[in-house]
């Protein structure tokens, strides 16, 4: 994180207490923002907009790794027919990480296994890649749990469903285990796929900083936030698919979150960068 701009701040843009509280709250992020980083971020807002920036930070929902583990544990425990004991299990069960090796879906699958005591090698046979699904000859009694981190608009899952459906090629029950989602994504996925979506945290309309349901900011403040958003991302000032969220997962910030929180380039620095190396705006 660049320290540019910190020296120019004669007066701190927030109180010591506020800075300490944010610093402590954001510590679970993989590369947690330092006090200097938070100050530099705040300094990008003009003096009269500082309270808006403060409320943005106050609005951030950060899921720690422990939150994610607890969520995945609760999810699998709640699925009917699952048991760690094979003879108490209903049908066959398989777990699939979304995305190819080295991607968040696979990383999430590792967390999912850890959360549910399935990390040992003997459970490896239950964990498969999507390409392996056609060869499993799945039946209606079987279950496949697709593991991913977050669905913001649900569009990607809806678009991906025809491929999944073709690979599963049976009436096997398809669960989608997420750490968090939104009511909008949940509704889209339920309406357009046969995924049985499970997420311990479901963000409501009010969590979209730009929605009318969000009362944290006035309409004028929302307009200003969008202006700052344009500095962070010209094409998606409200975040991908206009989701306007302020959610941060311990390992990555979803692109559905507002870019002022995660963009990282010459014109903007952020406390939760998706790209750890600065890129062109």
């Amino acid at each position: 994180m660049s320290d540019a701009g910190i020296g120019a701040a004669v007066q701190l843009p927030a109180t010591e207490e506020q800075l300490s509280a944010w610093e402590a709250r954001f510590r679970p992020y993989r590369r947690h923002p330092s006090r200097e980083c938070l100050i530099a971020w705040l300094c990008q807002f003009s003096e009269e907009h500082q309270t808006i920036a403060h409320r943005v930070l106050d609005s951030v929902i950060l899921l720690s790794e422990d939150d994610i583990l607890q969520g995945y544990k609760g999810t699998l425990e709640s699925l009917p027919g699952w048991s760690k004991k094979p003879d108490e299990r209903s049908g066959r069960w398989f777990f699939v990480g979304m995305g190819d090796a080295g991607e968040s879906g696979q990383a999430m699958l590792r967390l999912f296994r850890e959360a549910n005591g399935l990390a040992a090698d003997r459970w490896q046979s239950l964990c498969v890649m999507p390409r392996e699904l056609p060869g499993l000859a799945l039946k209606a009694v079987d279950s496949v749990v697709f593991v991913d981190d977050f669905a913001g608009s649900g569009q990607q899952m809806v678009d991906y469903w025809p491929i999944i459906e073709e690979l599963v090629a049976s009436e096997a029950h398809c669960y989608l285990a997420l750490s968090a989602t939104t009511t909008r994504a949940e509704a889209e996925i339920r309406a357009h796929t046969e995924f049985d979506i499970r997420a311990p945290l479901v963000l409501q309309e009010e969590h979209n900083l730009f929605s009318e349901a969000c009362t944290t900011f006035t309409n004028e403040e929302k307009r200003l936030l969008e202006e700052y958003g344009k500095r962070a991302s010209k094409s998606q000032p409200r975040g991908f698919n206009d989701c306007g969220l302020a959610i941060v997962l311990s390992h990555k910030t979803p692109n559905n979150s507002v870019p002022i929180l995660h963009a990282n380039h010459d014109n903007w620095i952020s406390p939760f960068p998706r790209q750890l190396i600065q890129v062109a705006a």
Partner: protein, 321 residues
Amino acid sequence: MSIEKAAAQPRPKPQTVETNKLRANPHNPRMLFDEDPMETLKESIAKVGILVPLTVYRAEGSENFTILDGQRRWTCATALGMPEVPINEVPEPSLTENIVTMFQIHKLRKDWELMPTALKLGVLMDHLDERRDQVLASLTGLDTAVVGRCKKLLTFEPQYHDMMLHPDPRRRLQADLFIEMYPIVTDRSVTKAEWFNRIDMIDAFIRKHMEKLSGFRAVTDFRKIKAYLTAARKAGREDETVSRLRDLVYRDDVLISDLEVDAARIHNTADGLVRSILRLRNELVALDVEEFAAEDDLWREIEDFVQALRAKLLDAERRPV
């Protein structure tokens, strides 16, 4: 019993099920039906009902019936709000039978993602221990060329299959990229080269294609590489081109066109052919069919010419026009 009496007997009613107890066959869920014929079928069903029962099976452990044949009738019945439809229930097919049946019944969409089909063809090949294109084409009803394309995809390592199945469409690699790359990574001169590393080469080609490096603009650029390899082989300068190919794989400042060793001859020949083809095409278009109707030799030659053209296009793996 007389014919009259028999006709008067009440006909056995086919089994019926609630329309919402049926589901499309998951082996082929993305069928594209033309709207006009569907509308005609819908009107017919609205008037006289469904005359031919749907062929369905009940999957083990399922409450629902899966449609083997009759998806269009079911779609119409659903649209018409029919509470139930007639069915013929058959035993649940084996995985292989089901894949074969569904391949035969349904046509592929034009924008079909080929990788899932390839994976299922792979399952079929393993179950039946059958590799021949013609036999697989005849079993599945797929075009032989599609079978060939699927088989090429299956030769790629699993990590590349994953890339073709990526959930994010912006990051999902198209099957065409690998199909076009196939002739290069399997070229006999290339694979014999001491420096050849298949994974390095595939990864480099993917990166260059994605980032538009080394002159890569489209997946069809691999055809240029193949053409340069073939030309070099004919000119006895294969080693030179294969060596330049190594540079193309490992260096971004080397361009596809740098592989050319016999460019002038090939371009001249191609230019000459283009001119001849254009002249011939214009003459053919201008030909008065009635005036030349009796010229049997001419028509026979044209037929032979068309066949030769088709064979050449097939060799060049051009899509049917």
